[in-house]
Symmetry: C2
Subunit: 256 residues, 2 copies
DNA sequence: CGGTTGGTTGAGCTGTATCAAAAGATGTGG
DNA sequence: CCACATCTTTTGATACAGCTCAACCAACCG
């Protein structure tokens, strides 16, 4: 019976880096290679879900992981009091389905219609047993995801809403144009409420920040789901230089 | 030459769960077993550091991981603007030294004097190659750490300072009394500033919250580094029930 | 004992949540 | 293709919580 190393199967797949800085270190570097993806495809079946559909729920028994072929998903965590936080957004070629002890750690829900490859854990487990390199890729993914969560923490530690939003925009841009890292068009498939839940703000505040940035000529947006960065310089200046709660240096001139 | 699977060595060690809820799922479940720890000890050397000393810096070349024998450390991340965020605190038996691409992802600094076992990555790598189970333990650790970061995000998404602080206290309690999960005495080896940096608040606010909780007879504290939970009920009530930005249900009675 | 560090307390200001409502988008069925 | 219902986004007015600046206190240490 092939269950002696069951612990291995309980584990866990993580995904998408969620790197933060455009000047960034390596971006989507450790996504799967096409070859690796092909090997995975051999055990996969296609799944199609609609906007708003839940792929799986936090705490449910994890018996598959999913490779996103198209669409955008979000990872949601419930608080004891019923409020929620969004941990991240996932794009095509990301892999979702992180589990711990056989249960999914978060709920994953479709932001837009989506198509995914479903890979049963049993089969995946068998595959990984014979493919150590692939196995290792998944570990790297978990670490990268961890790094992403840490950057998320970094953003949430910032007080000012403008900065949080700008960092979010930077992140979304990075997700969409991994190679360049720049490119002034940013698509936001998710709602203002989603952005608010990701940033720990209210939808109103998010909306107001966008309005302010628009008035300040830093961004432009033909519609709420499309942002164009007009003033790259100020965009970065605010996002990177101004997050302080306390000024980094007291600005006290030494001499006198 | 033993370098062909180098990628494996670049990786990564994570640590301490940082579980959040006392009703908790599994607490420190996947810490290393004593046997595993012994196997690791065979390649380890002892290191002693003082309060405030930096074990390693974010971005530095990672050539060892550390198993904490005694003391408390903190993991610090620098923002582009010079402010910092604390990602977590580490206690005895935790392992620190998460790296990505051969570089430490965060700075780790001693909160108190500490003693650690230093395990060079080269040796560890060799060891893990022949000890798949141990290897797997490290992966589980990474996943658990990820989960911890997600819970941190959850806490930072809460607006009210009281709740953040109470959740922090709950976390610290959990770290100190993993079996029980309860026990009204909580030690806080770190400074108010550290707590503030972990929670995304200012030291003043943290201090004020403690004062308020003291006045409200929810906690008592003989000195700033020792907290006693007096009113467990309200402690939990505030920590768990009141995180909302918006009320979870509009409180509109259905009938009429 | 001054000096230093960490913690507490106070007064005022700013920014975000909240409550409320209007304006835009989106989708459906006629 | 339009009219209607619904949902999302935006805008406005107000209240309150946490940040800022500043002083003060306690403990620790040379």
């Amino acid at each position: 019976m092939p269950g002696s190393r069951a612990a291995s199967s309980r584990l866990a797949i993580a995904a998408r880096p969620f790197l933060a800085r455009p000047d960034g270190d390596g971006a989507r570097r450790d996504l799967l290679t096409p070859q690796e993806r092909d090997r995975l495809a051999s055990i996969a079946s296609l799944v199609r879900i609609e906007r708003g559909d839940i792929l799986f729920r936090q705490g449910a028994e994890a018996n598959a992981i999913y490779d996103i072929a198209g669409g955008v998903l979000k990872s949601v965590l419930q608080r004891p009091d019923g409020t929620r936080a969004i941990l991240g957004f996932f794009f095509p070629q990301d892999i979702v389905g992180l589990a711990e002890d056989g249960r999914y750690v978060s709920t994953v829900q479709a932001v837009s219609g989506a198509v995914l490859y479903r890979m049963p854990l049993r089969a995946l487990e068998r595959l990984l047993k014979h493919d150590r390199e692939l196995d290792h890729q998944f570990l790297l993914k978990a670490c990268h995801e961890l790094r992403g969560a840490q950057l998320h923490v970094l953003t949430l530690g910032i007080v000012r809403a403008e900065i949080r939003v700008l960092r979010f925009l930077g992140l979304m841009r990075q997700m969409q144009a991994p190679e360049a890292g720049l490119g002034s068009l940013i698509e936001l498939p998710m709602s203002r409420a989603d952005i608010a839940e990701y940033l720990g703000l209210t939808p109103e505040t998010v909306s107001r920040v966008f309005a302010r940035l628009r008035r300040a000529q830093i961004i432009a947006s033909p519609n709420p789901h499309l942002i164009r960065v007009v003033d790259e310089e100020r965009f970065l200046a605010i996002a990177e230089d101004e997050g302080r709660v306390r000024p980094p240096a007291p600005r006290v001139s030494a001499a006198d």
